[in-house]
């Protein structure tokens, strides 16, 4: 019998707000332990939470971007459990009445478009971090760092609509694109600003029943997500084929060994004793505000790709590359806005710009989109040659200097003086009689070499079109 996996993902996205979910502490990463704390996020006696409005706005943005219904009234709930990184002994989350419900996103996997349902999206606070002294199994003490405690998270729960590890990866990448384009989350899985747990069960292909599921944790990259699900699918298939059965449990993925192993059984699962958070009033959101947020939603990656291909006549591939992150896309669009033709802008951004960014990092880029547009204009008006333009681009990239100034200072202005070029061409022809003979004997390729020699002699400044014309003219004599 052939089996198929049934997968649902629970994704946690850390929201990029300045302050925490329920207090005014900074969310900035990398401070010394417990520097970003106050009585509220330390869980001191007597403190009360105050909801961060920005978190609500960001979550509503996500809900709208994933076609969810935004609840007019939602409530917070306490999830109770003991752990040293959880200062209050409960996490403030949402349970029965989340802020967003019933949405979907469209993914493409194996060339096929599919809709994955979103069950719900809710807000909750993060816990702190434990640092164990010495080796884990022989550690005598642990340190608690509560900088991360109360940092806002958004949990996105999918329907069990995912049918393969590839689809899970595509879904995850789709969510990443959405949060990054909304500007509400870094989307960095390795650093943990985007995290994911998976529920997976198997069933005979075509069946509409559900098998017993296992929950998989600790998959902190797209690659590990797929690897863990592939392993777990095979494990469950093997179990069933051997007349065994899948146990409902939580399993941990070990990325070194590429396997999942049991963490805790259903019997050991916590009873979180959820109940409505009495320290917060129900969150009421008016339709006007939701509409306002909807109007302010930035263009999504899919919309951009559609526009680049449709309006700008770029290839699907170029559109994909240019939108791989919103910073590049914005840069590209500003080059176009600066007067460059989309195709030329695309070539320069995907070529020189992305190459230099890759080498030196985006922080090193001093060049503005307007400068790129200007350099493109210089090439198009034949004020500089293509190769000179690359040199100008590189210098402006490094220094941010005015391209015109760079052209002038380096003497890169293209020579379009026919007499001067004719002189140079003649000199090259005189210096290379053998090559001239070979061209005349029919070796067309030699022309390129001769053009190169002229360009070299003029330090790239000669107008290549003119060089070509004059070369052909003199050679045909």
């Amino acid at each position: 019998m052939e089996y198929e996996p049934v997968i649902g993902l629970e994704v946690h996205a850390q929201l990029k707000t300045d302050s925490k979910l329920f207090c005014g502490c900074s969310t900035r990463f990398g401070k010394e332990p417990n520097a970003n704390t106050c009585p509220v996020c330390l869980g001191m006696p007597g403190v009360l939470p105050v909801l961060n409005r920005k978190v609500v706005q960001y979550t509503v943005m996500m809900g709208l971007a994933t076609n969810c219904r935004i609840a007019g009234e939602s409530i917070f709930a306490r999830k109770n459990y003991f752990y040293p990184d959880l200062p209050k002994g409960y996490q403030i989350s949402q349970y029965e009445a989340p802020i967003c419900e019933d949405g979907w996103v469209e993914i493409k996997a194996n060339g096929e478009a599919r809709r994955i349902g979103i069950t719900r999206i809710h807000m909750e606070e993060d816990a702190g971090k434990l640092v164990h002294e010495g080796a884990f199994d022989s550690s005598h003490s642990s340190f608690v760092d509560l900088n991360r405690a109360c940092v806002p998270l958004m949990e996105i729960v999918s329907e069990p609509d995912i049918r393969s590890p590839e689809e899970a990866g595509a879904y995850m990448r789709k969510l990443r694109d959405i949060v990054i384009y909304l500007g509400i989350c870094d989307g960095n899985m390795e650093e943990g600003s985007l995290r994911c747990d998976a529920n997976i069960s198997i069933r005979p292909r075509g069946s509409d029943t559900f098998g017993t599921r296992a929950e998989i944790k600790n998959m902190n990259s797209f690659r590990f997500l797929q690897a863990a699900l592939e392993y777990e699918f095979e494990r469950q298939v093997d179990l069933i084929r051997d007349d065994g059965h899948v146990v409902q449990e939580t399993r941990l993925f070990d990325s070194n060994r590429g396997v999942t192993s049991s963490m805790r059984s259903k019997e050991e699962a916590h009873d979180y004793r959820y109940f409505p958070e009495p320290d917060l009033v129900p969150l009421r959101i008016g339709p006007d505000w939701v509409e306002q947020v909807r109007q302010s939603l930035p263009e999504s990656r899919d919309e951009k790709i559609g526009r680049y291909v449709g309006e700008m006549k770029l290839s699907e591939y170029d559109a994909q590359v240019l939108t791989s992150d919103p910073v590049t896309a914005r840069f590209f669009e500003n080059v176009v806005r600066g007067g460059a033709k989309p195709k030329a802008a695309s070539n320069w951004v995907m070529g020189e710009f992305m190459r230099l960014v890759k080498e030196a990092g985006v922080e090193a880029a001093k060049i503005t989109p307007e400068q790129v547009a200007h350099i493109i204009m210089l090439v198009e008006t034949q004020a500089i040659s293509g190769s000179a333009a690359k040199a100008v681009f590189e210098q402006v990239f490094d220094t941010g200097q005015d391209p015109d100034r760079v052209v002038k200072e380096q003497g890169l202005a293209q020579v379009s003086d026919e007499g001067a070029i004719r002189e140079e061409v003649q000199r090259v022809l005189d210096d290379h009689p053998d090559d001239v003979a070979r061209f005349r004997a029919g070796k067309q390729k030699v022309l390129g070499f001769l053009v190169g020699q002229v360009m070299k002699a003029t330090k790239g400044k000669a107008n290549p079109k003119l060089v070509n014309e004059i070369l052909r003219e003199l050679l045909s004599k």
Binding site: L42, G43, M44, P45, G46, G89, V144, P278
Partner: protein, 485 residues
């Protein structure tokens, strides 16, 4: 009259006229504490030094004529449930025995800003769970009227300190009667305002949806003064109401002519001590003399209030008290071998019997499979009780009932019988469940010479009405006997 036995408003007049200094009053109160607190045991922590500094500052302001209001320079006791910056704040629990609060709660900050002189932190039932102060993690407080008796609880230290002249007024909290019941037992005025009237920020939480801060004072005017100082919206407490605070003291006219006072029959039934009933009914007659009309009324859901309370309050408490885990502050069991043992030993040794009982009750009530039958149902009954109360206030202006079924009982009498102890609050609990306001005013002495209070209950955010009826009653009642201590 001794300075320590005077009211806020009288002392304020004296201070204003320069007849006395805050330093004198404060010294007098501390002298009184030195004289009687070994019998009453109201205080857990004295803040003598900072109090004398505050008194000095108040005197300076009075000298310049720019005093901060009627509370300026007045010695005040603060229940140990309030976070008080730099001062030991235990909530009556061993688990916080060594805990110095790192910030001032909103109410403490407000009374400090009003110039009040904080004399110290007073005793209470551990985490406000109790009706006799016998659940204090440290020692029981005694009733100043008869030191063999309990002062009531959980704000027993607050009530007894005011009754014994160990403070001019006090701050308390009331989750199921914790201000009104000890006020009744100690012969002082005690008010639980409407839920949301006073900020809970910096009040160590027992049951978040029921807890409310309120004043304990010598008379109704003082109560109005103190309530005015502490009430109002607080951005740090999302459950505090954005409703303007009336100037309560100036609204005390004593004119209640034609107002209707409802007498809910369910509050005058089984379990009510006949002597208490007689004194409370006499209070109705006094209000009638002022032109109020008694109206018989029925609140049938009252009988479910105690059961509802003992689901909701422990459920919230089980969660609120989870933070006392020995990890970040408070007492930690030192020799634990691992995390689980640290949690278990810290909490079973740090918490007293009653607190542990309620954590167990609440944990059970919220457990998977029991939630709907207990917590869910309790919330539905709560809605019913609230509606019934709201409906009653469409017919009457205030309700009148006993505060407690009996006068103060002997220390040790009910410690082994939690159910009987819980019934001490049978008449006060419905007010918290409904979220409305209630006040206890002394209405007489029992044959044993113990004070008895009458409870007036008013609609949400109508404290001014409630205070005015209480004020009219107090005027007509006349001077209340002084505590014999």
């Amino acid at each position: 009259m001794k300075l320590y036995n005077k009211t806020i408003h009288d002392l304020h007049e004296d201070l204003k006229e320069g007849r006395v200094s805050s330093t004198r009053i404060t010294e007098d109160v501390f002298q009184r504490i030195d004289d009687v607190d070994d019998q009453v045991r109201a205080y857990l922590t004295l803040t003598r030094e900072s109090a004398m500094e505050s008194a000095d500052e108040a005197d300076e302001r009075y000298r310049k004529g720019d005093f901060l209001g009627q509370l300026d320079g007045i010695p005040m006791a603060v229940k140990d449930i309030f976070m008080t910056d730099g001062v030991k704040t235990t909530c009556g629990s061993k688990i916080l025995e060594n805990f110095i609060a790192p910030y001032d709660g909103t109410v403490v900050a407000k009374v400090k800003d009003s110039g009040a002189v904080i004399t110290g932190k007073v005793n209470m039932d551990e985490f406000a769970m109790g009706s006799s102060n016998e659940n204090s993690g440290f020692f029981p407080t005694h009733n100043p009227w008869n030191t063999d008796m309990v002062p009531g609880g959980s704000s027993g230290g607050s009530a007894s300190s005011v009754a014994a002249g160990e403070a001019i007024c006090a701050l308390g909290t009331d989750t199921g009667g914790s201000i009104r019941q000890p006020a009744s037992h100690c012969g002082v005025v005690g008010m639980k305002p409407t839920y949301g009237r006073v900020s809970r920020y910096g009040v160590i939480a027992f049951a978040s949806s029921l807890d409310q801060v309120g004043p304990l004072t010598r008379d109704v005017r003082d109560c109005a003064i103190l309530l005015k100082a502490i009430a109002g919206h607080d951005p740090a407490d999302s459950t505090s109401a954005k409703i303007p605070v009336p100037d309560y003291p100036s609204l005390l006219t004593g004119d209640v002519e034609g107002m209707r006072v409802g007498l809910p029959e369910e509050y005058f039934g089984e379990g009510l001590d006949p002597e208490v009933e007689e004194l409370v009914r006499a209070a109705v007659t006094i209000l009638e003399k002022r032109g109020m009309k008694p109206v018989p009324i029925s609140l049938p859901s009252t009988r479910y209030a105690v059961a509802t309370y003992y689901i909701i309050a422990p459920a919230e408490a089980s969660s609120n008290l989870a933070r006392y885990d020995g990890v970040r502050y408070g007492v930690r069991y030192p020799e634990a071998k691992g995390l689980m043992e640290m949690y278990k030993k810290t909490r079973s040794q740090g918490f007293g019997v009653e607190v542990q009982r309620r954590i167990m009750l609440g944990t059970f009530a919220l457990s998977a499979g029991y939630y709907d039958a207990y917590y869910g149902k309790a919330q539905r009954v709560r809605t019913m009780i609230r509606r019934e109360m709201d409906e009653a206030f469409s017919k009457v202006d205030v309700l009148l009932a006993p505060t407690a079924p009996t006068a103060a009982f002997p220390i040790g009498d009910r410690v082994d019988d939690p159910l009987r102890m819980y019934l001490s609050d049978v008449f006060t609990i419905p007010v918290n469940i409904a979220g409305v306001a209630g006040i206890s005013v002394p209405c007489g002495l029992s044959s044993e010479g113990l004070p008895v209070g009458v409870q007036l209950i008013g609609p949400s955010f109508k404290e001014e009405t409630l205070l005015n009826v209480a004020y009219a009653y107090e005027q007509e009642r006349g001077e209340f006997p002084e505590c014999p201590l």
